[in-house]
Symmetry: C2
Subunit: 436 residues, 2 copies
């Protein structure tokens, strides 16, 4: 494998190569930087690339399974010395004085931090259209969205511009770009990753997550950034006897035909390799749309506080859609928000009850594939992903096989809150089965 | 043991006696009804006592460790055929058409449902002063509060008027009356007990819980009403090597002297019996007061929706304090409530981080003991209990030894979300150690 090929391999594989001395850590890093310089102008995944000194090159030294690989960080998570702008220039952020906990843990494990990644403004939206820092594009098709809000994270990982990326996921913002960009994305259990140094969007629902090219990279990265209660024991490799729930009426999901086709074919392949898939009724909840809207209201209300000075003093500094949302939420009462909290909590309980009898629930990650950046934005992008945030349950997206040249489709696995390693174990087995 | 003495024994002990045929199930039930007739007028714990036919006497038949014993239900939980008034006459509730899930499970396990229990109006308050259904009193001292909001549950269990009682706990409403009445009270993990048939107060924080005279009764009742993921495996009996966190600066809790004395003496006894107690710093959170206030705001906003028709059409039908709260919350915005949600979430995360390195955290349950019903109401009653609701963590109160004739003091144990049986196992061992 050449060094350039290694940039598209998994982070664990990169770390192994560095550990074996071929290439050296410095050699991999140099190639990585060259790739960013070459590729980033077309996709705008990075909004800031750190100088080698800032990045801590050659300072890493932890003997973790990812030591020698690299990572990059969504712009709403603190990296010491860099302003945390959350995709919005008007925030006028001063440089962060310290690394977020997740960033510090990755550095301590010997990964080099390469830079800050583009995102949908203030993480509220899933296209990564960004008037302030420029749109981020999907490396798999020119002019298409990478998804969002962690669009830069999805694009950078898919383009081989970092080993792994940190993202955040309030209603699907890690899993949606992972699906659109054809990589793996993991939103751990609520509380499993320290949330210090994160710009809040909706604190009830906010999770720091990880994007990577391989599930084993997610496993190793999670063991580094996660709290010990969540990262023990090692993921089980034996998945015989597992029972995975699948939608009893897939048509009711109203997903695009290409999504349903890949999803159905993927489930067929899992059955053929020995998985037990059990149809479950998903119609008993409040409904995906109402649930997503409740999450949106929570996010808007919290943002109204975060952006208070800007809304009052210079609302024109906000992108049009965000300014509209701030006007909308400004008219809502505490009782209105309490109703949204109620819907949110009920959705989480519904999902927990639904998944309880099974080892995991399988869903498409998003109702559609990536679309042109200038196309109308589908309202339902986060419909399948938001409930896992409300349950605080671990959820993961990994790529389904699709015909050559077609856009990626994500398979979402939802597990039990607190049982992150069990879900990662299932994901390893599913990834392997789908690759056969 | 006479039948009347058996009424003050644990529910497991009652069930064992019935299983041995002495007394018969009918005999125990008859004595239980006679005790209610005799004692309830003085304490007003029951707001409705079911006729034998309604109660399902002699119909129970499940072979659970509690079969043959009895239970009663806080008035904000549905019992088929009885109106769920939530301590507020203005709710004009029609009889519930079906049992709440927790009620149905207890019946199926062979317990007889005796009636509905008094509570603080709409569960928002901790004195059980109730203008509509009459105040409920502490059976241990005339004219004193039993605590609340599950005051009827605490009083009925303490007076031997039921085997176990269901209560609800949004900021401490199971644990506070357990502490004031000298019984044990358990608030399981969020989601561990089905919440159908419950009048919502603050859905993020609402939990159905159990009050009983013995921890083993809580264990068996929880195994009946809890979801399987939470009730397996059996509680560990071997607690050697456990590390329990205790406040590094107990004085900072600002508890009443009699509470601190009982708490400190209790910890000394635990140390003497081999427990390892580790001081932890509790000053790092938002502060107990701010956290309790945020929970109050969430509750008020949700109640504003529940009581909407009453607030608009006949506000005078509400108790004065509740009407005042509804006026207050009516002026609050969605952004105000979002701030409270943020404080709530942060408090839960703080508690989870604090307890994470230990097997449990020990605290006084409340800053004071029961007080006269007509005395000023301390604002801080729920300060030590509310954070566990915000973390969704299991928490339990059991009585500390106090000098003869003194009012009870509760010891609170807080565990890890999802690890309910582990906490119950610790509670069994602590109860045993304190009884030595």
């Amino acid at each position: 494998m050449t060094v350039d090929e290694l940039l598209h391999a998994g982070a664990v594989q990169q770390a192994r190569a560095v550990a074996a001395g071929s290439p050296s850590a410095g050699g991999l890093l140099q190639a990585q930087r060259a790739a960013i310089t070459r590729v980033n102008p077309a996709i705008n995944a990075y909004v800031e690339v750190f100088e080698p000194s800032h990045a801590g090159a050659l300072q890493g030294g932890g003997a973790s399974p990812l030591a020698g690989s690299t990572f990059a960080v969504k712009d709403n998570i603190d990296v010491a010395g860099s302003p945390t702008r959350s995709g919005l220039a008007a925030l006028d952020a001063a440089p962060a004085t310290r690394d977020a906990g997740a960033v510090a843990r990755l550095r301590a494990a010997g990964l080099v931090c390469l830079g800050k990644l583009n995102m949908h403004p203030v993480a509220l939206g899933a296209t990564n259209h960004n008037p302030d820092f420029g749109d981020c594009y999907n490396p798999l098709r020119a002019g298409y969205t990478p998804g969002g809000s962690s669009g830069g994270s999805g694009a950078a990982v898919a383009a081989g511009l970092c080993g792994i990326a940190l993202g955040t996921d309030t209603m699907g913002s890690v899993r949606i770009p992972a699906a659109y960009c054809g990589v793996a994305g993991f939103k751990p259990s609520f509380g499993a990753v320290p949330s210090d140094g994160l710009v809040a969007l909706a604190p009830m629902l906010d999770h720091i997550g990880i994007l990577a090219r391989r599930v084993e990279d997610l496993v190793q990265a999670f063991r580094i950034v996660g709290e010990p209660r969540y990262t023990q024991p090692a993921p089980p490799r034996d998945v015989r006897g597992l029972r995975l729930a699948v939608p009893a009426e897939p048509a009711a999901l109203q997903a695009a035909p290409e999504v349903m086709q890949a999803f159905t074919a993927g489930l067929d392949r899992l059955r053929a390799t020995g998985f037990t898939l059990v149809p479950v009724d998903l119609s008993g909840g409040t409904g995906f749309t109402a649930v997503r809207r409740a999450g949106l209201l929570l996010s808007e209300a919290e943002l109204r506080n975060t952006l208070d000075a800007i809304v009052r003093e210079r609302p024109r500094a906000l992108p049009d859609d965000l300014r509209g949302m701030m006007e909308f939420i400004g008219k809502k009462s505490a009782a209105d928000l309490a109703r949204a909290v109620g819907v949110t909590v009920a959705a989480g309980q519904w999902l927990e009850r639904t998944v309880a009898p099974f080892d995991a629930l399988l869903l498409p990650t998003a109702p559609q594939t990536a679309f042109p950046m200038d196309a109308p934005v589908p309202a339902n992008q986060a419909d399948y992903t938001a409930p896992a945030n409300m349950a605080g349950a671990p959820a993961l997206s990994l790529p389904l096989p699709v015909p050559a040249g077609e856009l990626p489709v994500g398979l979402q696995l939802v597990g039990h809150r607190g049982a992150d390693m069990a879900l990662l174990g299932i994901a390893l087995a599913v990834e392997e089965a789908l690759a056969r």
